[in-house]
Structure formats: C-alpha cells, structure tokens
Symmetry: D2
Subunit: 321 residues, 4 copies
Amino acid sequence: MTQGKKPTTLSELLRDAPRNWGRWGPDDEVGALNFLTPEVILAAVGSVRQGKVFTLQVKMANPEGDPLWPGRVPAQRMNVLDKGHWLAGKGPAFPGGIEYADDFLACYLQGSTQYDALGHTWYDDELWNGYDARTTIGGLAKASVLPLAERGIVGRGILLDVARWRGKECLERGETFTHQDLLACARQQGSEIRPRDVLVVRTGWIGSFYRRSREEFFKDFLEPGLTYSPELVRWFQEMEIPNLVTDTMANEVTFDPETGIAIPLHAALMRNLGVTLTEIAWLDDLAADCAADRQYDFLYAAAPLKVVGGTGAPVNPLAIK
Amino acid sequence: MTQGKKPTTLSELLRDAPRNWGRWGPDDEVGALNFLTPEVILAAVGSVRQGKVFTLQVKMANPEGDPLWPGRVPAQRMNVLDKGHWLAGKGPAFPGGIEYADDFLACYLQGSTQYDALGHTWYDDELWNGYDARTTIGGLAKASVLPLAERGIVGRGILLDVARWRGKECLERGETFTHQDLLACARQQGSEIRPRDVLVVRTGWIGSFYRRSREEFFKDFLEPGLTYSPELVRWFQEMEIPNLVTDTMANEVTFDPETGIAIPLHAALMRNLGVTLTEIAWLDDLAADCAADRQYDFLYAAAPLKVVGGTGAPVNPLAIK
Amino acid sequence: MTQGKKPTTLSELLRDAPRNWGRWGPDDEVGALNFLTPEVILAAVGSVRQGKVFTLQVKMANPEGDPLWPGRVPAQRMNVLDKGHWLAGKGPAFPGGIEYADDFLACYLQGSTQYDALGHTWYDDELWNGYDARTTIGGLAKASVLPLAERGIVGRGILLDVARWRGKECLERGETFTHQDLLACARQQGSEIRPRDVLVVRTGWIGSFYRRSREEFFKDFLEPGLTYSPELVRWFQEMEIPNLVTDTMANEVTFDPETGIAIPLHAALMRNLGVTLTEIAWLDDLAADCAADRQYDFLYAAAPLKVVGGTGAPVNPLAIK
Amino acid sequence: MTQGKKPTTLSELLRDAPRNWGRWGPDDEVGALNFLTPEVILAAVGSVRQGKVFTLQVKMANPEGDPLWPGRVPAQRMNVLDKGHWLAGKGPAFPGGIEYADDFLACYLQGSTQYDALGHTWYDDELWNGYDARTTIGGLAKASVLPLAERGIVGRGILLDVARWRGKECLERGETFTHQDLLACARQQGSEIRPRDVLVVRTGWIGSFYRRSREEFFKDFLEPGLTYSPELVRWFQEMEIPNLVTDTMANEVTFDPETGIAIPLHAALMRNLGVTLTEIAWLDDLAADCAADRQYDFLYAAAPLKVVGGTGAPVNPLAIK
C-alpha cells in the first residue's frame, strides 16, 4: 500500500491487515470483548477509588434535538397515559386510587449513544468472523448486538481527552488524530494506557451539537476523528483493545485522507479485529471531572439493550471512579 | 388500619406511613438513590471477587415473545438497510466498498426490563416529593426517568432467590411473600442484607414466560410478589433500600390481599419513600450461578436510557461478582 | 392438473394459466386497473341513483381490537398534544389563544382495510409484469402501492353477499365458494355482474371479529373464501375484473383444498393477471342497505395512501349508490 | 371589531361571528358535512363528464421529503419482509412457494394530505358543537376524525386556481387572498361556485416544496393563504361550504395580518361553523388538466382513514371529472 498505486477498495487497503477471525472459535460474536476476562475485570475494579459515577449517554427524545447521522429522524417519545386522562374522566379506576403514566418510543437503534453490533458494517460479503453478509438481512442472525448485550462490557476505562490536550473546546470539522496522538495525550494527562483498556476518546464534537445551531453543526458535515494507518491497527491489536468509545457519530473521520476510502476503521478494527465501537457518547462531564481530579481511569461498565437481531442498540455506559 | 373499617383508598391505607418528601430538598427527583453515596459505592466494589458478569435484561423484540403487561404491544424492530439492498442494487456506494445495516425500533418504554421513573405512579394528585400530578401530562416534567438515568445506579446488590428458597421453579400465580420472607431467604442463603443494598428478588415468574404457552401465562393474569404491610414499609425505610429489582412486571402482587387495593407498594415505596423499582428483570442465569458458588452479593451497576420526560426506560443492569 | 400427479408448486399449478404480463407495456404497475377506462367510469356513474354513501374501512387503532393476520400488532395511535397540555401549563401560547391536538400512528401497512400492491406477493422470483423479485428489497421499487394510489380506483362496484345468499350471518371457518357461486348469488340478488366490475364479496367474517372473543376468532385460524380453479381464473380474465374486495384478510381460503398450496389466487389473479386485491373491508353496513333497497351496484371510488415503496396501504373505499 | 381597540383574542375577534353549534343536534360530529345531502350528491355526479380521475394526496415516506409543519418528522416506512429474506434463507416456506413483502409505517397523523377532525383546534375550552376541550385528552372522544371517515365526503368539487389566476407558479410567502378573490378567480375560470361546493383552492405552495431546497422552503416559514374577515365567514356560512381543501399546511395564513391572531379561520370556520379542512393537498396535476380542458368542477370523493380518536387522518381524495 505504501508504494505504487493507492488502494481504492477496503480489500486492497487491508490485504495484509491483521484479523482475529476464528481466534475465539467459529461461533464467536463478541470479538475483542473476549479480552475482558475475569482477571481484567478484577483488576479494573481497582480504578474505583472515589465512588464517583458518570453516565455517558446523550439524552434521547430531547426537545433540544438529538445528534443524528443525516437521514435518521430523532427519537419520538409519546405519552399514552398521564394525569390528563383522569382530569378528563378517562383514566382507568383502580381500587385504592392509584394513577399512572405510560409512554411509547419510536427511534433508530443507532440514533443515540450506542454499541455497534460487530456485524453492523462489512465489506467483501463477509462480516466479523467470516459470517456471510446475507445473515444481516431482516435482522442480524450473526454478530448482532444481542451477544454484546448478553455479555456486558466491564473493564478498565481510560479517558483520552484529545480536545483538552489540543487546547480546544472541540476539535475542528474533519480534524484528525492518530494512536500516537492518543499516547501523547495520555502522557500529558499523566495516565497510562494499559493492554485491554476500554479507550474513551473525547473530541468535544457531540458537546458542540448542543451549543451550535443545526445549520452550523451539519454544514458540510464532516466529523473529527481517528485516521486509519496500518500502525494504528497493529497497535490496537497488540494492545488488545476491546472497545473504542468516542463522542462522535462514526468513531473516525468519515473519509480516509490518504485514499478517500469511507470509514476504514470500521473495517479494520470492527470487522477484522472484532473491536467493539461505541458512538455518540456524552463525555463532557466526565472530562471536566478528570481534568479537575487528575484521575483519568475508571471502571467502565456498559450494557446495550438486548435487542434481538439489532445492528446496534442504545446504551447508557457507566464510568465509576 | 388494623382495627375498625378496612381502608379503601391509598390515602387511608397510607395515612400514617413514612415519607421521604423533602428529605433531599424540594427539587429532588431521584429519591432513595441518594442513599448510594460514594462510600456505599466504594464498599460495594468489595463484592467483586471473581470477575464474573451477568446482564439482567430480558431480550427485546424477541421472536419468542416479549413478556408484557396486557394492553401493551411487543417491541417491533425493523431493518431499514441490510445486505439485501446491495444484492438488489439499492445499497449506497461508499468509496472503498463498505456496506452496513441499520434498523428502527418502536416499543413501549415499560415494555422490557425497565426502571420506573419516580413519577410513574401516584395518588391524591401528587407524585414523589410532592410534585403536582399534572406535571406528568405529555411527558414527566418532574421525577421522570431522566434524573435516574443521569445519576446511574451503582451499589451493592444482593440476590434473594425466593423461588429457590421455597423449593420451586417459579412461584405460583398470586403467591405472596413479605420482608420477613426476604430475611429468612437471606439467612438460608447465608447472605446478609445490608443497609442500602439493592434488593434483587427472584420469583421465577418471568423465566416461566418462556417455558409456558401465552394462554397459560396470561390466564387469569395475577403475578406473585411482595405484599404490603406497614412493617414492610418501615423495614425498607430503616434499611434505606434504594432500589428493588424483581423478575415480575409489577414488583408486587397486583392487589393487596387484605384490602383489594391495587399496587400499594408503588404508592408506599416509590411515591412516598422514593424507592426506585426495576421490573421484568432476567434473573435465572444469575440465580443459577449464585446457587452454585454461594456468592449472592455483587456490584450492581445499571443505567436506564436517558429518555427525556420518560415514565420509565429500558435498562440492561449488570451484576458483577 | 386433473390427471396424474397433483401439482405441489405454484409453477406447476399455474403452468398453463393466463397472464397479462406485457399487455399494458413493460412498465405497467397497475395491471387490471387499466380496464377502468374513462368509458367504464362514465358508465359507472349511472349506478349513483340515490345519493347514499358507504365507507368500507374497518376502524384503526380501535380499543375493541383491530382484525389482524397473526404476527402483526395493532395500530398504535398516540397523542402528542391535547388539552391536557394547557391544563398543565405546557401548551404553546399562540396569539389569540388557539389550542390544538396532534397525534402519531405506528401501524402495519397491511394492518387495516388495505390495497395490496401488485408486487406484494410473487413466486418463481418474478412479480407482476415480470419484475425481478429483488426489486421488493427494502421497499417495492416496482409495482408498489404507489401507482395504484396515484391512479385511484373508480368504477362500477357490485356487492355479492355470499353470506346472506347462504343464509348465514357469517361463513364458517374454511368455508369455500367459487365464481359459480358468485354468479348464483348475483342471480338471487337480481343483480348482474358486468365486465370490468369491481367485485365486492361479503363473507361476514370480519364482522364476526367484533362479536367473537379473540380466542374464538383466531382458534385454528382459517378464513372462508374463494378457492382456486382454472375456470375461476379464466372467468376473472374474461370478465376483465379489475379489483376484488372482500371482508377477509386474505381474499381467499389460505390453502387450496385440492393441492394444499397456499394462497394460489394471489398468484393466479394478482401476480399473473394484475387483478388488485382489497382486503379486510367493512361490508356489513353496505350489505344491510343493499338487502333493504335491493340496489347492489354502486359507484366504487377508492384511493389507498400514496406510500412510496409500500407493499400495500390502508384505504377507506367509498360505495356511492 | 372595526372601531376601537383591536381584538387580541379569538373570543373578542369572533364575539359576533356565526356558529352552527346545535344546528344538527347536540351529538353532531361532522358539522358542515351535513350539507352534503343525497340531493347534493346526486347533482354532483353530473360533474363527471369525461371519466378522468385525479388523486390529490402528496406522496408519503417520500425519499425526496415530506412537506411537514416544523416539529413533525417525516413518515418512516420500513420493510419487515421482502425477497431478501428468501435470498438469505430466512423467508417462511409456504406450500407451493408463494413469497411476499410486508411493511410498517410510523407517521404523524397530520403529516400528509389530511382531514382535520372538527375537534383538532379550539379556543375558550370548547370544541365544535360545544364539546368540552378536555374530551381531546389522550385521543378525541368527540369530533374526532372517525365520524368524518365513517361518513365520507362526496360532493361537487370546484378548483379555484388562485396561483394561475394571479399569473404565478406559486403564491409568495405570506401572500393573502379573500373570498372575493375566490369569486374573481372563479369568474375568470368561467366556473361557478355553487352552494355546498367543496372548495379546492390552489396556491402552488406545496408543489414548490419539491422544487425548492428545504432551506428556501422553510426560511422564515410563512405560508400564503386565505385571510380572516367577518365577510368571508358569512360567505362560507351563506354558501354552506362543507369542506375547504388547499395545497398549504394550514389552509390559511398563519397570522391574521390585521390582529396578529394565529389561524383565526380554524376558529371561525372549523370550530364555529363546522367546516371541514383538508390540508397539504396535491393539486398541480388537477390544475394543469383544468387549465387545459377548462372543466374546473368534478365529483369530489374523499374518505380519510377511520382512526379512532384521531385529531386528523391521512387521505387520498379523488377528483372525478
């Protein structure tokens, strides 16, 4: 890839890239989450030193707006019962007089902070672990979000506050960074990235959604994010990173600056290595706290909804310091 | 209540019952979750001794069926994009050839394992902390599920396997138990209920949904569960229980056997004391493990979705042993 | 088909059956609706002799229940705004003081009285007019309900009240009838089936849904209806029937009694001849009126919703006598 | 109203305005549709002189966009079954080999061409016919769209092509017109507005949605439309107009230019007189045809969906010339 013609397909780009297919057996659907062994979990608990809790989901069905990939519509939450029914003489009469409210939600499963299923993206007709891409039809029969949700994700999390490290409230449109930047950021933070850490990478991008006008946020829509390189992929593989969490919608810049190829890290990390991706995370409160107390590691505990066949599912991850 | 006429309303039944309104200020919306202080959380971490993880949500949009309170409809999950689109020449063409699947969900917010908002039920026109019941109209402006979701619930959990204690796969239709039974069950398990524990109470009921025909499960629908008594309410208050989790839809028998009043514990515990309720939990796997290794306590970590104004929200709680 | 082995596939059953593919050009998506020419419409207007109007849709989001093919869920209608909002101080304040109510619907497109798109069912990988069945993926690119909806259906309708003719409130579970029965029924009614008539066939089945318990209606679910025969198909072809409307969910008995093949009329009439099918119609009021005034013909005017790519769409047909 | 202070409320503005409450009995829910008697319908049939049919709904779930009042989201149509399922080995196997496609819709009931229920808007706590506004809570118990849908709307329609009359492709943002303009437009068209006609008024506005960018269409959103005057209201009353159909979202300019009061015609015509309103109609094809053949009258036949409790319902009206 470094000499001669630039690759134009993911096949070419990732011809020699590492894969974990088969590493955890032919039926594996959780990929690099296998790195989160009981030993890793027991060690991660050591990061709980203050008893502080942060929740990392953005609000859903927010009157201020939901940050969404263009084409999706915001979650619609609607009451089907509330006090109004009793004011109008329409509420059910229960013995003793209890009253209640009930509601309904219609949403895109990737329309909030969410875990991608390992089968959410693919190329060359094969998903994670070699499953046939036709298994995605009408619902993911393989590598859906369900096995991730049934396992849960518990490990040592580390915040890498790239925005703060670069002295910005929010990275610029299309601004990129690499794993070397993650390492430099960690060094400046005084924190150590350990093997099998859940990487929680902050760009400030999602936070900016709530401060900017819709027009400004979506104009020439291009997110900041990690960029592909063979070295980055090898680093994720060597570090046995189970999960990458970011405050962007795609977890990477949409188009590789070198080749123009779309979302190559979804291919190289998720489809090939089985690294789970968590997107649209709310990191600003956690980041402010970490900047104040200088503790950037925590017990990361997350469990997306157990949606059968889901391409992903909303999640409200916990960071426990 | 013990002499003279039986109470017919929650007002009468709970005239002298304890309340925590105002205890955490006039603006509180999380109630007994305030008991989960940093100290409690730090202590709870001590329950992680093996590095095992269990997830406590039932599956959603399950082709086998979703266990639902009569009147609600099961979650509908639908693909809006999958490999079929590319087989038909309809998929978007991205540089490099990445393909993906995307989907949509329509569901009742109380139609899976879920946290009730503290404002989900009320009587006498007032919710938890005295908020006007009209604040529920069109979405909960006060004591919605959002503050619970923003705080997260992290503490020491303890499984009380009432079904196993009674030597049953599943409690009977309408079978009741009391806090004294919970204490007896804990003693037999060799486990100690500590103040501020998250109580995870298993009846086997939801598990039976998947083994029984729909007709059998819903025939003369009446769940097993805890029953109201003034002593039980005082015990919850004295023990400062923040959260009650069960594998039933209502967390209590539907009608108080003594007075016929509907769901009095929602009134006495949730509305008056601010105890959060988690319903329709999947406890069978956790219970089997606890029966095997005799460790009934764990770090309980849960975070329902941050649905603005929600009467509740789905959740996939983690039990980390 | 009458000698030798019974056919086991639609291919075999319909090997020699007539087709209208190409009859209206390679791009046709409305099939036998082409028979409804301006001349036919002008003639049909002659059936309006009293100025009476009947509407033929069943209610949607009906608290009494929606009659649905097993597996679908009933339409959910939910208010997003109503007077309750103003009682709670939450309604928007418009100059002058206007207030309003607004609502949302989630439903199966085939979950009420509905037009099937011509591409709704197929066999041997081809739809009406020979379109590739892959065009159905993710939405019907060909022969969707949209062209039917854009054209509208206006012609002479004739009610054939098979239930009344057989002296029954409702046909039995699985009870069949043929085109000869339709002709006999018309004769007894004193009405004439003319070429290009919209046939409105009443079995009483949907009406029984509202009188029976759910258990009774769905027990061993098997609808009454027309049965396949080569002669019936030829008769539809010779009569140039544009549209068959019934008060059942499938417009025919589910399984051909002779071969066991499922819904062969969808194949023979809809896929091969381009006859449009309208299902789950509400015919009891119209039928009672026709029995009383002996006018069984009317101007039939229907227009399903213009849902892009829809496999069908709800409709509220008009019968104007 | 013409001297002294300008009215600031609908109560003041419409103090002396006519009302039809009680005119058709205390239980009436269809208002001015009562004017569409059998005699009117029989006469209207005379407008069918060519056998041409036009359908007046805009497309729903249109990839090009749905024209929606700000705040609503476009209809989402999703396949739950299609040929992809069989390509992936997931389709159900029916005897004989029939295959089919099925889909689901989530939409605002006022999110396409639609009939407003008579109870859709109100002021002073009372709806059409004096019904208490609390009856709207959780679904319209009175004057919902259901009675309109059960009755159907059949009468003589007349197109008033205000845009063409003013020599414009589309009226300007906020451009107004009066009933005198409608009369002048009719005169120029050579067509006569008769008592009890369904008025179909074209501004070109909805058509422009499909030609303009979203930004342009919604910038300083202000529709063209009819404006309130006491004379206009009296004219509607004297002409006994049953139904006003337009190609705008609100059927009138949003704010009365004289008083600033929002949508006074919804109050004066719909709430007080019981005139039904049909909005977001697709009139461009009909208008082009009328301009060509000079026949501006037609049989108007429409029936919104029978949505129980609906504030409105989508409709695909027919114009039969």
